[in-house]
């Protein structure tokens, strides 16, 4: 990489392509177009720094010293380019029936019945700086849920269209996986395909759970028995290269800023929010390979896309942005930069925000609508004491899952779900292991704030921790949420950030189909725990009048359950792709219907997200868009008509 530049240097030129956002989507697309020789400018809102090793170490120590190890805990808050945090949400004690059970105090303004309970990161590299790196492909039936099962929105393209792009994306980000297992699921269809690297080995907990292979589990909402089988999860994480990969040989990438480091995952188990060795793939790797044709400018917050003059057929001419020097201050200066093509790659919610504020691409009234995530139900249990510890807190967040609930006719009755077998104990559900230590020590006091008498120390503390932490099982179950126009991002002039930009106003809820999926997932987890002889400690009911975040109740066949979900960080749908400008924002190439040189790329284009973490699909789409942008630019630049050479023409 030639390094990042400031705004003054960035605006000296006109570019073929301006990319808004240096996250996964923007970085991959910019690299691809740069390699084809186009002049590309990446405008990034974040401060930058983690692309150097000292900067990365700074993020690591910020994370180490953070009290709450939330996904954004490795990154300092920014006034100039604020971003949401999961700590922005708080439950309301003793809420009135029917009233909202949470408050939101942060970058997002939230007015939905339920909270959009997740974050992203406005830093160089984007949300992937704290992602987990789980990268399953979507299943063919995920692309047509409406046609097949009568819910959600269908794609204008099929899984088959995406297969080659999936394979390329897997090469670019470096995926480790077991292709045979994915073929069994029908997710990979090429009979000869292997992933660039061998699968990450199964964790101890995976092996423990494999004991249930073949056991049928009843899902009473779908009214069907599902036989369990543990499947390995494809991951964007360094592992042993597969010699059968073609074209080979594949070489795992090393850390950005520190050569020859992190070429294998060594199980540090802190991938979210930050991998100490960078064995986890992230977009800074792509940026490190940017050719000289790509310029990256950090600390540049894009504020508006500019529409070209009235004779320009709806084309856009470039973007306005504000550049800052101090992330702790709202002070900045505005600039304009022009380009042949503008690509928004700023995250689903930010893309929608930019389109709405610019007043562009919204003839369908779908901009900002159809906001989706994977509501994730946490289930936690203690394994049977007689069978000893199960080995939590080792390796990546999850390495395997139970996949059968993702597919098939059950989808008519409830949203499908993917069961992630957690490797990090009750970390997500209860803040373990820190919370176990605190509880064992008696920290926190009793309800009256008095010192608790039952704290333990010394060998007894060790024994207690060994026994309680070592047996923690957690199933985090990601439920499909389908497109619903009522779940949306809007803008309201009353809500601005410190720099004057309008903040996203979110309206979010789960529809009955999704809620039934959450309900079914909870019951299935309880049955699995039973089969494992584990003690189910899951509790989503309000405690002492305080509901858990994401709490709701749902009734199926007369039985009501207290349920709760967490957000997964998979924001999608906000500039939805379709086959007609009447009801969608972008076409199958992520080009806005109304502005032939304005693209909006990212999960925002996805009409549905199935039960797969969305980034791999998003990257396949981004590569496909890069190809199309290249074709657009070639058409733009070639002379309309080339006369045959004859005597009348004098050589130049």
């Amino acid at each position: 990489m030639t390094g990042t530049v400031g705004a003054d240097e960035a605006v000296r030129r006109r570019y073929d392509v301006v990319v808004v956002g240096g996250g996964w989507a923007g970085s991959l697309l910019a690299k691809d177009l740069g390699e084809r020789g186009w002049q590309v400018l990446v405008l990034e809102a974040g401060n930058g720094g983690a692309e150097t090793w000292p900067g990365y170490l700074d993020s690591l120590s910020t994370f180490y010293s953070a009290v709450a190890k939330v996904p954004n805990s490795g990154y300092r808050r920014s006034v100039a380019a604020p971003f949401p945090d999961v700590l922005d949400l708080a439950p309301v004690r003793d809420p009135e029936p029917g009233e909202r059970e949470y408050t939101a105090n942060g970058y997002f303004v939230q007015n939905g019945r339920l909270p959009y309970g997740t974050d992203y990161l406005r830093e160089l590299g984007g949300a992937a700086m704290h992602w987990l790196g789980a990268v399953p492909r979507m299943h063919p039936e995920d692309f047509a849920t409406n046609e097949r099962f009568g819910y959600g929105r269908d794609w204008p393209i099929t899984a088959a269209d995406l297969q080659p792009w999936y394979a390329r994306a897997e090469f670019e980000i470096g995926v480790a996986g077991d292709a045979q297992g994915q073929r069994e699921l029908g997710v990979v269809t090429d009979p000869d395909y292997v992933f660039p690297m061998h699968q990450i080995p199964a964790s101890w907990i995976d092996r423990y759970c494999t004991g249930l292979d073949g056991t049928p589990i009843l899902d009473e909402v779908a009214d069907e028995q599902y036989p369990l089988k543990v499947h390995s999860l494809p991951q964007a994480r360094n592992s042993t290269p597969n010699p059968d990969y073609r074209p080979g040989p594949y070489r795992p990438s090393s850390a950005v800023g520190l050569p020859n480091y992190g070429e294998r995952c060594v199980g540090n188990a802190s991938c979210v929010p930050i991998c100490p060795v960078q064995a986890k793939s992230h977009p800074l790797r792509q940026q490190a390979r940017f050719p000289r044709t790509v310029t990256t400018a950090t600390r540049c917050v894009v504020t508006r896309v500019r529409l070209a003059g009235p004779t320009m057929g709806g084309r856009v001419s470039g973007v306005e942005f504000r550049a800052y020097t101090d992330p702790a201050s709202p002070v900045g200066r505005s600039y304009v930069v022009e380009a042949g093509v503008v690509v928004l790659a700023a995250h689903a919610i930010e893309n929608a925000r930019l389109l709405l504020f610019s007043g562009l691409a919204n003839g369908s009234d779908q901009v900002g609508r159809n906001l989706m995530d994977h509501p994730t139900v946490l289930n936690w249990a203690l394994a049977d004491e007689r069978r000893g510890p199960v080995g939590p807190f080792r390796g990546p967040g999850h390495t395997s899952g139970w996949e059968v609930f993702r597919f098939g006719e059950g989808r008519r009755r409830r949203a499908p779900f993917r069961i992630e077998i957690g490797n990090w104990g009750w970390g997500w559900a209860t803040g373990a292991p820190m919370s176990n230590v605190a509880t064992a020590l008696g920290v926190g006091g009793d309800r009256q704030g008095e010192i608790r008498p039952d704290g333990v120390f010394g060998p007894e503390l060790r024994r207690l921790l060994g026994s309680t932490i070592g047996r923690q099982l957690q199933l985090q179950i990601a439920v499909e949420q389908s497109a619903n126009p009522g779940n949306r991002v809007t803008l309201d002039r009353r809500h601005r950030d410190a720099t004057g930009n309008l903040r996203p106003v979110l309206t979010y809820d789960l529809d009955p189909h999704t809620r039934s999926g959450v309900y079914a997932a909870r019951l299935v987890a309880a049955r699995i725990f039973q089969r494992l002889d584990a003690t189910d400690w899951t509790n989503h009911a309000p405690r002492d009048g305080v509901p858990p975040l994401g709490h709701f109740t749902h009734t199926v066949d007369g039985t009501t359950l207290d349920l709760a979900y967490s957000g997964a960080g998979h924001g999608a749908g906000t500039h939805v792709m379709g086959s007609s400008p009447r009801d969608s924002v972008v076409d199958a190439f992520q080009r806005t219907w109304e502005h032939p040189n304005l693209y909006a790329v990212g999960c925002g284009s996805m009409p549905s997200i199935g039960t797969s973490n969305p980034t791999l699909t998003m990257l396949a789409l981004a590569l496909r868009s890069a190809e199309q942008i290249h074709q657009d630019l070639v058409l733009d630049r070639r002379p309309a008509d080339v006369r045959p050479a004859d005597e009348a023409e004098v050589p130049a």
Partner: protein, 394 residues
């Protein structure tokens, strides 16, 4: 270190038979290993959270020394030899630096300090900075030693013919699937060109490409980096090299943050027997014994990897991580001898690894190699590993 010391004693000679060439390469393996405990001690004694530039600099050199061991093993295998990694490889510290002339002081285990860096610099000293000795004289430098190896190899290829020199089976060669995280790259040695590249990599990562401060990592499509001597000199002088610096110049670039107080001082000549005296008052003895036993296990995995099972490097990696974690604890303890502790000395690993340690390691290594899934080309699976020194948490 036995092969190397014997060879050194025999006096300077270019190997003129295959057997002698193989002996030279076994000696080279030992010499490459010699530096690892020395550099590890420098690195392990850095206090957590300080000296990060120095830490990563030394670490990179250690990784490249491991690469050198592996390349030398590939070379030895290529010429029909069989590397041996057992007690003959391990030096007793303070150790002589073989092939370097009598004037070189012996190499001890030292904590991160200017004195330690001086030792490091002496070890890596480029040939161009070593005064020439009279013609026909003895060994002067490790570079000269490798020159002799190269000369002997070329001579043997000329006289015996290529195919009678390169007789090793390709399945004994270690490739980048199994060895990673080091500057440069490991590659299978199959012919003279590969052999020469291996020798060049080993010498140039240390000394620099002919009369520059840079190593040869560009050869492998990587960014070039400073050769070892110059990396160490940056730490020693507290200043980085500037873009136009030449080998004999003092570094002229920006300052780097070196804090000599950010170290745990040690008494590097401490032996397990010294710790044993205080067995009842300090757990350092047990911990130092455990460290050595782990190190023996590590070396036995290497032995197996170098002898037809490249994938047996995989279980060596968690063993290295265990050594790292054990070191992080061990070096934070005061020296068990109250007199030394009063002088501010901390405990240290002794790297005394002799036949009893290797014998004990062999059983564990055999058991773990059978328990893990380590077939070439297949996924690595280490779930079956169990360490004899594991401590129960509860």
């Amino acid at each position: 270190m036995r092969t190397a010391l014997a060879l050194e004693k025999a006096g300077f000679a270019v190997p003129d038979t295959l057997e002698k060439l193989r002996t030279c390469l076994q000696a080279a393996l030992e010499v490459e290993h010699l530096t690892i405990p020395v550099y590890l001690t420098g690195m392990y004694t850095i206090r957590a959270g300080t000296n990060s530039a120095a830490f990563y600099g030394i670490r990179a050199v250690v990784m490249e020394e491991m690469l050198h061991m592996t390349l030398v093993a590939n070379l030895l295998n290529a010429v029909g030899g069989a590397p041996v990694v057992d007690s003959r490889v391990v030096a007793e510290y303070p150790a002589r630096l073989p092939f370097s002339g009598e004037s070189v002081p012996s190499i001890g285990l030292q904590h991160f300090s200017p004195a330690a860096l001086k030792t490091f610099l002496r070890i890596e000293q480029p040939r161009s900075m070593t005064p020439p000795t009279a013609p026909g004289g003895g060994w002067t430098s490790i570079g000269q030693f490798y020159d002799a190896v190269r000369e002997g190899l070329e001579h043997l290829v000329r006289t015996l013919g290529h195919d009678r020199v390169f007789t090793g089976g390709p399945e004994r060669q270690i490739g980048p699937e199994d060895f990673y995280n080091s500057g440069g790259e490991v590659f299978p040695v199959e012919d003279l060109a590969g052999a020469l590249l291996a020798i060049e990599t080993v010498t140039e990562q240390g000394e620099g490409v002919h009369d520059t401060i840079w190593n040869s990592n560009e050869t492998f499509g990587e960014e070039r980096e400073l050769a070892h001597w110059f990396r160490f000199n940056e730490i020693f002088t507290g200043r980085s090299y500037g873009p136009h610096d030449r080998p004999r110049d003092r570094p002229s670039g920006p300052l780097i943050d070196v804090d000599w107080d950010g170290a745990h001082p040690i008494h590097g000549d401490s032996k397990v027997a010294d710790y044993r005296v205080y067995e009842r008052t300090s757990a350092v003895y047990q911990q130092a014994v455990a460290f050595n036993s782990r190190y023996a296990v590590l070396l036995r995995y290497l032995d197996s990897a170098f002898n037809g099972h490249p994938r047996h490097l995989a279980p060596a990696v968690p063993t290295m991580l265990e050594l790292r974690d054990r070191a992080a604890q061990l070096y934070r303890n005061p020296h068990p001898d109250p007199a030394l502790a009063a002088r501010g000395c901390f405990a240290s690993a002794t790297f005394e690894i002799t036949d009893p340690q290797f014998d004990a390691a062999d059983a564990e290594v055999a058991r773990n190699l059978a328990a893990a899934s380590l077939r070439t080309g297949e996924p690595v699976d280490l779930a079956g590993l169990a360490s004899d020194s594991a401590e129960a948490f509860a």
